[in-house]
Symmetry: C2
Subunit: 303 residues, 2 copies
């Protein structure tokens, strides 16, 4: 694997397990990350939205990366989220991750602010890059306007790529806006774009997507890997339908809680279902429903 080659393939945004006192269960997190890699993940988009990264404090975020690397997960297989509303905290997290040798970082915009200008966002990213000051820094913009309140517009993405061609190498889109994604493919060939989920992966691969970063990859990484490997093959449509069915079911529920409920069911450990406030776990009825519906999908479309 070439150092800092653009990330490609299936990179699950690993969910973060918590103990009863809400502290991070690092042992379980390490085991979960190793299992995802063993089941076919190319790498791990840790500390993103699904990881409840913004519910972790800064020190916990740093510790998580250190623990994963210490446990033997190669840093080049990690793509952590490091964006915060402040330049200072973003630089701190980004420099820490880059020092460990991660493949790159996923950068949320400064999400407290609303209605900010593209010049202001450009200045924010530019300050972060300058202050991190590391040649091996690679940034994947993280577009999730429904949560962050700020979109990375194609015009701004183009401006950033042009100004920092070695650093701004990709974008994870969570907007679900297909027109937006297609515009990125058309405008920036070679730019590593990750579509919203596995439900869009097949059509996105045909347009040049880099792979898949999706919450539900926590629960079906092998199925997504099969689709990623087989998107040009005879089974592509069937693989896409199977992976999409799981995704479309799970996104009917609050997604992070649903992912954790499924992990709890599989591990036979209710501890996995825990989320940090302000998120709520699924209700017992919702837990039952998501598990039963998943079983139905599995029975209808055996692998």
């Amino acid at each position: 694997m070439k150092e800092n080659a653009p990330a490609q393939g299936v990179w699950p945004p690993a969910a973060t397990p918590f103990h009863a006192d809400l502290s991070v269960d690092f042992e379980r997190a390490i085991a979960h990350c190793k299992a995802l890699l063993a089941e076919g993940a190319h790498g791990l988009a840790v500390l993103g939205t699904t990881s409840e990264a913004n519910s972790l404090d800064l020190a916990e975020r740093e510790t998580m990366l250190e623990r994963l690397v210490a446990a033997g997960i190669a840093a080049e297989r990690l793509l952590p989220g490091t964006g915060t509303p402040s330049i200072g905290d973003t630089v701190r997290l980004t420099r820490h991750a880059t020092s460990l040798g991660v493949r790159g970082v996923l950068l949320l915009p400064p999400f407290y602010y609303k209605g900010v200008s593209e010049d202001g966002l450009f200045a924010f990213v530019s300050e972060v890059i300058g202050r991190v000051g590391r040649d091996n820094l690679r940034i994947y913009l993280y577009n999730f306007p429904q949560m962050s309140g700020i979109a990375w517009s194609p015009a701004l993405v183009g401006h950033l790529i042009k100004s920092f061609p070695k650093t701004i190498v990709g974008l994870k889109d969570s907007s679900g806006d297909v027109a937006y994604m297609n515009r990125l493919f058309e405008s920036f060939p070679g730019f590593a774009v990750f579509p919203s989920s596995e439900a869009l992966l097949l059509s996105a691969m045909k347009k040049g997507a880099a792979g898949c970063i999706s919450a539900t990859a926590n629960t079906q990484v092998a199925a997504i890997r099969a689709l990623y490997d087989g998107w040009q093959g005879a089974e592509a449509e069937r693989l896409s339908r199977a992976a999409s069915a799981v995704r479309l079911l799970m996104q009917k529920f609050p997604l992070i809680a649903a992912v954790k409920a499924v992990l709890a069911d599989r591990a036979k450990s209710p501890d996995w279902a825990r989320v940090r406030p302000p998120l709520d776990p699924l209700s017992p009825a919702e837990r039952k429903e998501v598990v039963a519906e998943l079983a139905k999908i599995a029975a209808e479309a055996p692998a």
Copy 2:
């Protein structure tokens, strides 16, 4: 002043000056805070939105409080913002502020998240209060859904007051929603409600408001103090019109940048106009306009 009596009066959310390298100019910040108090502020709602608190890193936020107290500003005259999306960072900032002896803290909801339940928000606040674990903690909820994406609904406010009657003592509203504010006055007599700005202060005082926390108090604290002191007097309407005219003018511009542009003009120091990205300073034309319009207002309505 009784220890931890609810905050009342005029508490400007002090703007934060930056050096050319964007580091905090603590000396100028201290001078500005002292000037606001000398001109009539009862206290200072530091580290709020107008202070660009979410553009400061956690360490800078702690240093700011320590420097203000070390410079001789009584901690009981400080009401810092301490809310972040994570319980851990919020507890860190809140505990630090409370240890210094501040009057209370302004609490933003965990603003990365959207569409969270009232149960989830209640659990967030409850965890923060429990983990801070200090008897002298006083929380003022900070309602600014346009920026944070999350409102403190009257039902949730009621639930929090009932569960933590000694701790949840007030609310700063920045929504501009008069019906919301009136509902708080009607539902929670004695609860310290601060309306959106001085433009609503007179009508809010008639309904039992605690006072005023307003961005533009950085530029006209004496006028707001006169209105606060005189709201029952013969001059109340005139004082309200004068203070409101300044506010209504300035909020036509990006407000934080406009406040800093006016401070820069008065101090004859362009340094004051600096904001941290992603915010932009006013354009030269906007700066001229806001200063000229303010001069016109002052000429039309001499104090």
